[in-house]
């Protein structure tokens, strides 16, 4: 617990995050370049979908991230609720916009992919539909957070919502899948083939890691901003500003 108090103090974390961010950003850039190169130039052309399947290297990791971030957000929210740790409150709160962006990216790329595949910009495919509902959940979370002025109260209310959401996400996902098989022939929604060539796995994983490090870097940056904003009346922020003045 004593380590947690040390690392969770906003002042300590501010410097730590400042030191970590460039590394995370560099890792993101490196992995992104490698993943995109392998995905767009090295991976073989799909015999069925041609070149258009390459959007998968953006779409699939973005969809993974959208769910991963929601779970992180709910987990951090639970920790913040139970132990009252400010840092986790800030982490959870700053996850939401990044998660929502990834969800939006997954929706847009899914729709772009759908045009050559289904011949329509939007099809009520099971996975796309649950991404859409996940997007609504993120929007609700951010709207609730924004409408409460006191940041601590906002964080606690939002954490409860995220926990309710995280219980519901599997239920929603399986409901939508069932609904989809009931209303559509299965052949239409067969977009991701079950067996995947190893040369496609590598870029997929690289992109997933790139997105993860991007998420970490952006959340660290956002948390630094929020720490400064929340702690603007404390002496350490004043001292730091004083020392950086020319």
């Amino acid at each position: 617990m004593q380590y947690m108090h040390k690392y969770a103090s906003p002042k300590f974390f501010y410097t730590l995050a400042g030191q970590l961010t460039p590394w995370m950003a560099a890792l993101t850039a490196l992995l992104l370049v490698a993943g995109l190169y392998l995905g767009l130039f090295v991976a073989p052309v799909d015999y069925q979908q041609g070149e258009s399947y390459r959007i998968m290297f953006i779409h699939v990791p973005a969809a993974w991230m959208s769910m991963f971030i929601y779970v992180c957000m709910a987990g951090a929210g639970a920790i913040a609720l139970v132990w009252n740790v400010k840092l986790f409150e800030m982490f959870a709160g700053n996850c939401a916009p990044v998660g929502a962006s990834f969800t939006f990216l997954a929706l847009v790329t899914g729709s772009l992919w759908g045009k050559p595949m289904w011949g329509a910009w939007w099809a009520w495919d099971a996975r796309l539909t649950s991404e859409l509902i996940l997007f609504f959940l993120y929007i609700g979370y951010m709207a609730l957070q924004a409408s409460i002025d006191d940041p601590r109260r906002a964080a606690r209310a939002a954490a409860i919502l995220a926990l309710v959401g995280v219980v519901n996400i599997p239920v929603i996902h399986f409901s939508v899948e069932w609904w989809n098989t009931l209303h559509q022939p299965a052949s239409v929604s067969k977009i991701g083939t079950p067996s995947i060539h190893p040369s496609m796995i590598a870029p997929l994983l690289l992109m997933a890691f790139a997105f993860t490090f991007y998420f970490v870097a952006v959340v660290l940056l956002r948390m630094r901003n929020e720490i400064l904003e929340r702690e603007r009346h404390t002496t350490w922020v004043a001292d730091m500003l004083e020392s950086t003045k020319p």
Binding site: F136, S147, V164
Partner: protein
């Protein structure tokens, strides 16, 4: 009788009495439900075959919206006059009191929706064989709507723009109930076995009954801070 059972009885009676004295509050969501369903034939044309295929979805979506409209009544008045704070301070578990309030809310909004639904089903040309399924699916589904809605209402208590906000929070969570509720009715019309639909609706009810009061009570404590 243990103290908290007595408290539950009192609270339930009180909520029902207060609501019935202001009966417009009870009638508004019901009238809204009827009007929304009646608008669809006007928008889509009175073709019986078309109405029959969309009827399950339309009635269920209208029920969702009507429940959502009634949610701010759940805690807002008690919050405004301080009753809610007294409830939170009372020795009885807030979770149980919340569950009682939700039960009263369901009796005043969910149950009337269930009772009026056969009338709307006739209006929408739903075959008589599907009538029982519609009522039963609403009977299983509307309590879930009230329970999940209580979480949303508790979270948005006393916030500006709470009414619109609650729809943003609650409607995405309603999707599974909508899928299986409307799916059961559509299934009967199509001649599919719908036992699974009812099992799942009942499972949602069991899950919501056990978890939602905790979340709503926790949210109330945050809102009352």
């Amino acid at each position: 009788m243990p103290g908290f059972l007595k408290a539950i009885g009192c609270l339930l009676r009180r909520d029902l009495t207060v609501a019935l004295r202001r009966s417009t509050d009870v009638l508004t969501p019901l009238v809204f439900f009827i009007i929304v369903v009646s608008l669809f034939p006007l928008g889509l044309g009175p073709e019986p075959a078309v109405l029959r295929t969309i009827a399950p979805g339309v009635i269920w979506v209208a029920a969702l919206l009507a429940t959502m409209l009634s949610l701010n009544r759940l805690f807002a008045n008690d919050h405004a006059d301080g009753t809610l704070e007294q409830m939170a301070l009372s020795p009885h578990p807030l979770t149980v009191l919340v569950l009682t309030k939700v039960a009263a809310h369901w009796m005043l909004t969910g149950l009337p929706l269930v009772l009026i639904s056969p009338l709307l089903a006739v209006q929408m040309n739903l075959p008589e064989s599907a009538m029982g399924t519609l009522v039963l699916s609403l009977l299983l589904g509307t309590p879930v709507l009230s329970l999940l809605g209580a979480v949303g209402a508790a979270l948005t208590l006393g916030l500006r723009g709470g009414g619109v906000l609650v729809s943003l929070l609650v409607l995405p969570l309603y999707t599974p109930v909508l899928i299986f509720g409307a799916g059961a009715v559509a299934g009967v019309i199509a001649g599919i076995d719908i036992e699974a639909h009812f099992s799942l609706l009942a499972a949602f009810l069991a899950l919501a009954l056990t978890l939602a009061p905790w979340a709503a009570a926790a949210a109330l404590r945050v809102s009352l801070d």
